[in-house]
Symmetry: C2
Subunit: 217 residues, 2 copies
C-alpha cells in the first residue's frame, strides 16, 4: 500500500520547501517505502481530508494518520522494521531529539530571517497574506526589514554550523557511517532555503557541501 505524505507547496505545486516535510520524504526514501506526496498550500492545511489538521507533514498509512515529523519517523521505524533504521536504539531517538532542538534553536531563527521574503514571494496570494501576518508578528519585523539584514544573520548561521563541520571531520554522516534521522533533520533545514530562495547561504565548507550533496539525491 502506498503511503501518502501531505507536503507543503508554493504557488507552483512542485515547489516543496518545508524543512519538516523534507525530513519525512528523506526518511521514507531511506526506508525504501512506496509513497506519494500530496501538495498542500499553507491555507489548505486545515482542509486536508476534512479532518482539521494543523500542520504538515501528515502521513496517512492505511488507517493510521500522523502529524509531527518526529512522531512520524518513530512510527516508520517501529512499523517497517525490514528497511534501514532511522534511529537504531532508544538512546539514538533521545539524542536525535537534541539534534532537532539544535536545528530549531540554532539554525531556524537565522534561516527564516534570511529567506522569509523569498518564501512569501513563491506563495499564492491567499497564502502570502497569511504568511506575512503570522511571520511579521512572530519575528517582530517586516519581511522587507529581515531581507535587508540577511547578511548579518548569515554570519551567525555559519558560526552555528561549526558543530556540523566538526563532526563531519570524523565521519560521513551525523549518524556515523550511514545516514540517520538526525541527518535528515539537519538536511531538511538546509533544503528549505534551497527550495525557496536563490540566496547563497551555505558556508564554503567542503565537508558540509559534500555531506549535503550525498543526501540531496
Amino acid at each position: 500500500m502506498t503511503i501518502k505524505l501531505y507536503d507543503l507547496c508554493g504557488k507552483d505545486k512542485d515547489r516543496r520547501f518545508s524543512p519538516y516535510c523534507w525530513r519525512i520524504r528523506k526518511a521514507l526514501q531511506h526506508k525504501g517505502l512506496n509513497f506519494e506526496t500530496i501538495a498542500v498550500p499553507f491555507t489548505g492545511i486545515a482542509d486536508i481530508d476534512g479532518n482539521g489538521a494543523k500542520t504538515v507533514p501528515m502521513v496517512v498509512d492505511g488507517d493510521i494518520q500522523i502529524t509531527d515529523s518526529f512522531a512520524i519517523a518513530e512510527y516508520l521505524d517501529e512499523t517497517y522494521t525490514d528497511g534501514p533504521a532511522l534511529f537504531g536504539c532508544e538512546s539514538a531517538i533521545g539524542i536525535s531529539r537534541f539534534v532537532e532542538a539544535w536545528t530549531y534553536s540554532a539554525l531556524h531563527p537565522s534561516i527564516v530571517r534570511m529567506v522569509a521574503k523569498d518564501i512569501h514571494d513563491i506563495l499564492e496570494e491567499k497564502d502570502q497574506t497569511y504568511f506575512r501576518a503570522t511571520r511579521e508578528k512572530a519575528l517582530k519585523a517586516t519581511l522587507e526589514e529581515m531581507h535587508a539584514t540577511r547578511d548579518q544573520h548569515r554570519t551567525q548561521f555559519h558560526s552555528n554550523l561549526l558543530a556540523l563541520d566538526l563532526v563531519l571531520r570524523q565521519q560521513h554522516y551525523i549518524g556515523g557511517n550511514a545516514p540517520s534521522f538526525a541527518d535528515f533533520i539537519v538536511y531538511g533545514s538546509l533544503k528549505w532555503p534551497a527550495e525557496c530562495s536563490d540566496y547563497d547561504l551555505l558556508p564554503q565548507k567542503q565537508r558540509i557541501l559534500d555531506w549535503y550533496s550525498r543526501l540531496d539525491q
Copy 2:
C-alpha cells in the same frame, strides 16, 4: 581489577576540573565499574607512567591504556557489556559525536573565556606559567582581559544552551529516559567551570538546573 583514571588537578589535588575527565568519571560510575583516580597537574601529564602521554583523561585497564575521552567511552561499552550502555547502537555513537562537536564549538569557547583566569588561580605555580602562555596565545587575549568581559560571553553561552533547554522539555535526559554518554559530555562541560570558579554562569532555566542536579551526584 580496578581501572585507573588519570585526572587533571589543581594545586589542591582534590580539585578536579577537566570537562573531558568528568565525562569519563561519569561513564565509569554509570557502568558500575570500580575505578580509582590519579591526580595529575597540567605539567605532569607528559610524565604519566613515563610513557609520554599528551592528554588526560587516560584510562589504564590491565594492559590496556587509552587516551581521548570518546575512545575511552567506546572501549568501556565494548568491553563491559553487562552494565548500562553509554551508547546503545552505532547511530547513537555517531550522533553523540555531534553532541561532542556542539559542546566544543558552541559551549567551550564561551566557558573558557569566562573562567580562564579562575582556572589559572587554582593551579600550582609551574602550571600557571604553562596555562597562561598557552591560553593567552590560543585565545588572543590576556587572562585579565577575558575576565573583564565575561558577562558578554555569558549572554552568548545562555543563548547557545537553548537547545539543551528545549530537549529537556520532552525528556529527562539527552539520551531519553536514561542518561547516555551524550549527557555526560554536556554535563562535563558545565561541571568544569563549577569546579574551578565561583562565577554563576548557568542560566536560570529550571529544566537545565534539574538535569544538572540529577547528574551531579
